[in-house]
């Protein structure tokens, strides 16, 4: 009898674990892992004449983007790489702007009293819960030729003609910066909060200038937050097609818009899948870099 009970307990725990994991595992395997696998496979197939795919291997979908092609009908066009670079540039500028805006704000809030801190953190996260389309629509109202900004500038006598801001790269960058502020703020704040203020005082006492203190103490100490925030902003910004299609109109094309076109209007799924895989590849490289950076930080911490 005594031998039987623990065995049953172990078995019962096994059964419990099985019960907990099986339903979500089956669900995620079928609706998450399989779809991503299908997309990877499709990126190596030929497009069907009227949408869909032809089951024959082809690396031309990548060739059209990266520079090889057969002469028959799949042509290499540098325009695709150009769009990828445009996307990287716009996403990069978004990262830079959100960082410049959030860095001082993180210091500002980190110096508040505990109660005030919580209130202000809440106020910063709150717009994040306001519908994305609603927030972008607000920027349409502000940036349009007849919009709020132009009316204010004309009213103040600063300009005579309305500025053409909407449907430019600038409008897209403003929109993405606005949307991704919470993504940058929270990781930055987490590392600024941990910063030991006595180190800054020590640096000043030892005769360090403000610039030296910033470059040699504050910047290295908050680096994980800077890199983390940058990656969390860069990833959704890179593949974004909502902001460019609302604020960039037909004039600003990012890789996300190109992917959308390939799937919904051009109906060239293999090519669209290959473009998607290029985005995924870029994201993966970034993440591997970040994980390496973090593990190096850990090793440094251990060495100390």
């Amino acid at each position: 009898m005594t031998m039987w009970k623990p065995k049953s307990l172990a078995q019962r725990r096994k059964l419990m674990l099985f019960g907990l994991l099986t339903p979500p595992t089956v669900f995620l395997a079928v609706f998450f892992i399989v779809p991503l696998g299908i997309m990877l496979v499709y990126s190596f197939l030929e497009p069907g004449l009227y949408g869909g795919v032809v089951w024959s291997f082809s690396d031309l979908n990548y060739g059209r983007i990266l520079g090889w092609a057969d002469t028959k009908y799949e042509k290499f066009d540098p325009v695709y790489l150009g769009i990828l670079f445009t996307s990287v540039r716009l996403a990069g500028l978004t990262v830079l702007l959100t960082m410049l805006i959030c860095y001082p704000a993180a210091f500002w809030i980190s110096r508040m009293s505990a109660g005030k801190k919580n209130l202000f953190l809440f106020l910063i996260t709150l717009p994040f819960f306001v519908s994305l389309v609603v927030r972008l629509f607000a920027w349409v109202l502000i940036l349009r030729p007849t919009g709020f900004l132009n009316q204010a500038l004309i009213g103040l006598g600063i300009i005579n003609e309305p500025l053409e801001i909407i449907y430019t790269d600038l409008a897209v960058i403003i929109g993405m910066t606005y949307v991704f502020i919470p993504f940058m703020f929270l990781p930055l704040y987490a590392s600024v909060e941990k910063l030991d203020m006595s180190l800054i005082e020590a640096s000043a006492d030892l005769g360090g200038t403000k610039l030296q203190t910033f470059l040699r103490i504050i910047l290295p100490a908050t680096l994980p937050g800077i890199v983390g925030g940058s990656i969390i902003v860069f990833i959704p910004a890179l593949g974004n097609f909502i902001v460019p299609s609302v604020l960039g109109g037909a004039k600003v094309l990012m890789i996300g818009n190109l992917i959308e076109q390939q799937f919904l209007s051009a109906r060239n799924w293999p090519f669209g899948a290959a473009l998607g895989m290029m985005v995924m590849g870029t994201v993966l490289i970034l993440l591997i870099y970040y994980v390496r950076l973090l593990s190096r930080e850990d090793k440094n911490a251990e060495a100390k």
Binding site: R13, M16, L17, L20, L21, P23, P24, F27, L28, F31, F32, V34, P35, L36, M39, Y42, I101, P104, A105, W108, I109, R111, F122, L126, P127, F129, V130, S131, L132, V133, V134, R135, F137, A138, V140, L141, R144, T146, F148, Q151, Y178, I181, I235, P236, L238, N240, F241, I242, S245, V246, I259, E260, F263, L264, G272, A273, G276, V279, M280, V283
Partner: protein, 276 residues
């Protein structure tokens, strides 16, 4: 020294003011101009009106009697109904799934534990357009018609992760000894779960559920790709309006959505901030 310190703090506070102005001005603008009576240019103030609120709630007014308006109001109401149905169902499923995986990973040792932990972060770091098109390709290839059901499935695939993260954080704060004490006192696994574990993690579960609800209500990218012809949601509907041309009642729709999200977010953040 003290003087320069004070100066620096006040400079930061001025910065803080502009920071919040930047974050909140666009939102306030929508709320204010949702009461603007000007039907042509939304940005030129032409008197106060409730017209647009009446329109979106389906009351006919002199301005909106035309068949075109009634049709678009009906579409709006269908989109709202779809959004709510999808959000409720998704929340229910993803909360159960996410909590189950969080419990399994936190309380059991098994070979694939690390795999599950990693897997649950993949949907959060993947660009949503990738998941959107992968699901579209999958549903069409397998021959499943795009509908409200496919949207619910799509939402559950990534919202399970969000629930997992929120619930896991709560379990990490919890004292495992309480569960051990419960089983030492003779409670079986189910009783321990119901009487000890669940009440302790409940704020995390509710917080995760509210987050899932709000993200499901707002999701645009994934829904956009897998929404069939008859299964528009509210964000997709508004996105369409933004692309086709803006009508003044969009301000009122946005304001109502805003109020709705703020109420849910406030409840959620309040529950999350409560200590275990």
């Amino acid at each position: 020294m003290l003087k320069s310190l004070r100066k620096r703090i006040s400079a930061l506070s001025v910065y803080g003011f502009f920071f919040f102005a930047f974050v909140y001005a666009p939102i306030l603008l929508i709320v204010v101009f949702s009461f603007n009576a000007n039907p042509v240019n939304m940005m030129i103030w032409d008197g106060f009106t409730f017209e647009w609120y009446k329109t979106i709630f389906g009351y006919q007014t002199a301005l909106t009697e035309s068949a075109l308006y009634i049709d678009s109001t009906e579409k709006l109401h269908d989109a709202v109904k779809n959004s709510l149905l999808i959000a409720f169902t998704t929340t229910l499923i993803s909360t159960v799934f996410g909590t189950a995986i969080a419990l399994a990973v936190a309380r059991f040792r098994f070979r694939l534990r690390g795999f599950y932990r990693g897997l649950m972060f993949v949907p959060m770091i993947m660009p949503d357009i990738i998941l959107g098109i992968a699901l579209l390709v999958f549903f069409v290839s397998v021959g499943i018609n795009l509908s409200v059901v496919t949207i619910i499935i799509g939402h559950c695939t990534f919202l399970t992760s969000y629930v997992f993260v929120v619930v896991s954080a709560r379990i990490a704060d919890m004292d495992e000894a309480l569960e051990e004490a419960s089983s030492d006192l003779g409670a079986d696994g189910w009783t321990t779960f119901r009487r000890v574990t669940l009440p302790m993690i409940l704020p995390g579960v509710i917080g995760g559920a509210l987050l899932a609800f709000i993200i499901s209500m707002d999701d645009l990218v994934i829904t956009y790709f897998i929404a069939g012809v008859d299964s528009t949601t509210l964000p997709v509907h508004i996105f369409g309006m933004l692309r086709r041309g803006i009508k003044p009642e969009i301000n009122a729709i946005a304001t109502v959505m805003l109020l709705f999200s703020i109420v849910i977010a406030t409840v959620g953040l309040y529950l999350r901030s409560r200590k275990p």
